[in-house]
């Protein structure tokens, strides 16, 4: 496991800019950038279309709740990405395809009531409601590296339970070879699903999948929280998947359906651009994305533009010891 010593420029959470100031400065920049930034202007307009032009900052922010969980004692030495960055830099196209859009467009998202239906090739299909998500299983903290397919990475203290414990409860039968996950489809709440322009042109609902042995691996996490509290909507509230050895797009957010299947399911990014995004999507520094190198990554922490944060990318994102066996005998340059 990779151990990082916090660098000198490591800041505490308290030194991270307050959200309100962050927003003010951003909107100032957007307004000043009228000449150089037509595209930014269009996003300002998009953001304000729903909220009215000036009351953007007065919108109530989503309330997260503290969680009880067992601490991750093994990985505390990893240099965590500040919480403010984790919750403001999101690829969640349901709330806009620009990374700063989800935090602005998702605050009104309703997560309670929620229903997560687990079904398909299993003996005891079940439906979890909102309270079940945090109460049915003991929660634990897992500090994981997250490697985005776009070649940036974070370290995030997730809170959740192993997908394996949930799957054991529904008792998969012998035909269950794959697991497919589905994000909520609700264009009224998710502006990206309603507007093609906001939603980045991908097909909804978002669908992801795993092989059953990948799903049963103890690292595979159903996350209900981060940094000690329930998930904010931009990070996939109320429940999301975290598969730390795969590119981030596999870790599907705001899940309403989990289904056990006999055959490999079609998945969103793989269908959209099969040459760029494989079904497996294991982090692999020796297999480049056709349009950029995957050999290294920028680790997002603090320090602004001058942060020397480019680090080598590790096979399976550094989790090879735990998962490399799953792919023994497979040609990973073909099954990327």
């Amino acid at each position: 496991m990779l151990i990082k010593i916090p660098s000198k420029n490591h800041l505490e959470d308290s030194s991270v800019t307050q959200e309100s100031i962050y927003h003010e400065r951003r909107s100032l920049l957007k307004q000043m950038g009228f000449l150089g930034a037509g595209a930014l202007m269009s996003s300002v307009i998009a953001q304000n279309a729903k909220a009215g032009f000036f009351d953007n900052d007065d919108e109530p922010t989503f309330q997260t709740k503290p969680l009880k969980y067992k601490k991750d004692t093994l990985n505390q030495a990893l240099l965590k990405t500040p919480e403010q960055k984790v919750i403001s830099h999101n690829n969640f196209y349901e709330f806009g395809s620009k990374k700063d859009q989800p935090i602005e467009l998702a605050q009104g998202f309703v997560v309670d009531p929620w229903q997560l239906k687990v079904s398909g090739e299993c003996d005891h299909p079940m439906t979890l409601d909102y309270d079940d998500l945090t109460k049915m299983f003991p929660l634990e903290e897992r500090i994981y590296r997250l490697r985005c397919v776009e070649a940036w990475s974070m370290v995030i203290p997730w809170i959740g339970f192993s997908l394996a414990s949930l799957l054991k409860k529904v008792a998969p039968n012998s035909r269950a070879k794959y697991v497919v996950f589905e994000t909520l489809y609700d264009p009224k709440q998710m502006p990206g699903q309603e507007s093609r322009r906001l939603g980045g042109g991908i097909k909804y609902p978002y669908v992801e999948g795993l092989r059953i042995d990948e799903a049963m691996n103890p690292l595979t996490l159903m996350s209900v929280g981060l940094y000690g509290k329930t998930l904010p909507p931009q990070n996939g509230a109320p429940i999301r998947l975290v598969v730390p050895w795969k590119y981030g797009f596999k870790s599907i957010k705001s899940i309403v359906g989990i289904k056990l299947l006999e055959h490999q399911p079609p998945t969103t990014w793989n269908k959209l651009a099969p040459k760029e995004y494989g079904f497996y999507a294991n982090v692999n520094p020796s297999h480049d994305h056709p349009r950029w190198s995957q050999a290294s990554e920028r680790h997002i922490t603090t320090g602004g533009l001058f942060a020397r944060n480019r680090i080598p990318t590790l096979p399976f994102n550094g989790y090879g010891e735990e998962v490399a066996d799953l792919y023994r005998g497979m040609d990973l340059s073909k099954h990327y």
Binding site: G36, A37, S88, E150, W152, I300, G304
Partner: protein
């Protein structure tokens, strides 16, 4: 108002409109106050900015013709130079903050990734236009100056392709830029037709 005064005021506006956002951008980015990933922010901002300025430069002539205000043409050079400045920052951001001066990674990315190759060609062409915008050189070059600066039409197409190719799936904004670029080129339909014919015949 005399047209000289109008040109002067316009230029002041252009300087402010191009420089202030750039200064503000880097001030915030150095202090880590501009989103979680300031690197991505500065790369996108300067890239889009360069494209906006390039298109603005190309729209001066049509606008001046339509509203019959010939003095507007005098703003083309400063706009073009700011387009180049933004492009220069865009490239520098990629080199300094994205690949962080890893020379071999930089070179392999420029060669291996077609969208970066296209962007790089556009940048080199734009560099030639920027250098030859100096009055002395312009006079020396005579007729060939105009032929060289006709490459602007190619540059704007390469830049929109570079943008289109770089995005993951959100195609609306690249397509919008493409349409605007085509519209500006169509305004020069006869000239461009002649240019193309002169190359092939």
């Amino acid at each position: 108002m005399k047209s000289d005064t109008k040109v002067f005021l316009l230029k002041v506006l252009i300087h402010a409109g191009a420089l202030l956002p750039l200064m503000n951008l880097y001030f915030l980015a150095f202090n880590d106050e501009i989103g979680a990933d300031p690197v991505e922010t500065v790369i996108h901002f300067t890239g889009i900015g360069a494209l906006n300025l390039l298109l603005l430069t190309l729209s001066v002539t049509p606008i001046a013709k339509i509203i019959k205000q010939g003095y507007l043409l005098k703003t083309r050079r400063v706009l073009g130079l700011y387009a180049y400045t933004y492009a220069l920052f865009h490239l520098f951001n990629f080199l300094a903050f994205e690949v962080q001066f890893d020379g071999s990674l930089f070179i392999s990315e420029v060669i291996k990734r077609p969208y970066i190759t296209v962007g790089m060609i556009a940048f080199f062409l734009l560099t030639a236009l920027a250098i030859t915008s100096i009055n002395k050189l312009k006079r020396k070059m005579g007729k060939s100056w105009q032929s060289l600066h006709n490459f602007n039409y190619l540059i704007v197409l390469l830049a929109t392709i570079h943008f289109y190719w770089s995005v993951k799936s959100e195609l609306t904004s690249p397509l919008f830029y493409f349409v605007v670029a085509i519209a500006l080129l169509l305004f020069r339909y006869k000239k461009i037709k002649r240019l193309i014919l002169s190359v092939f015949i």
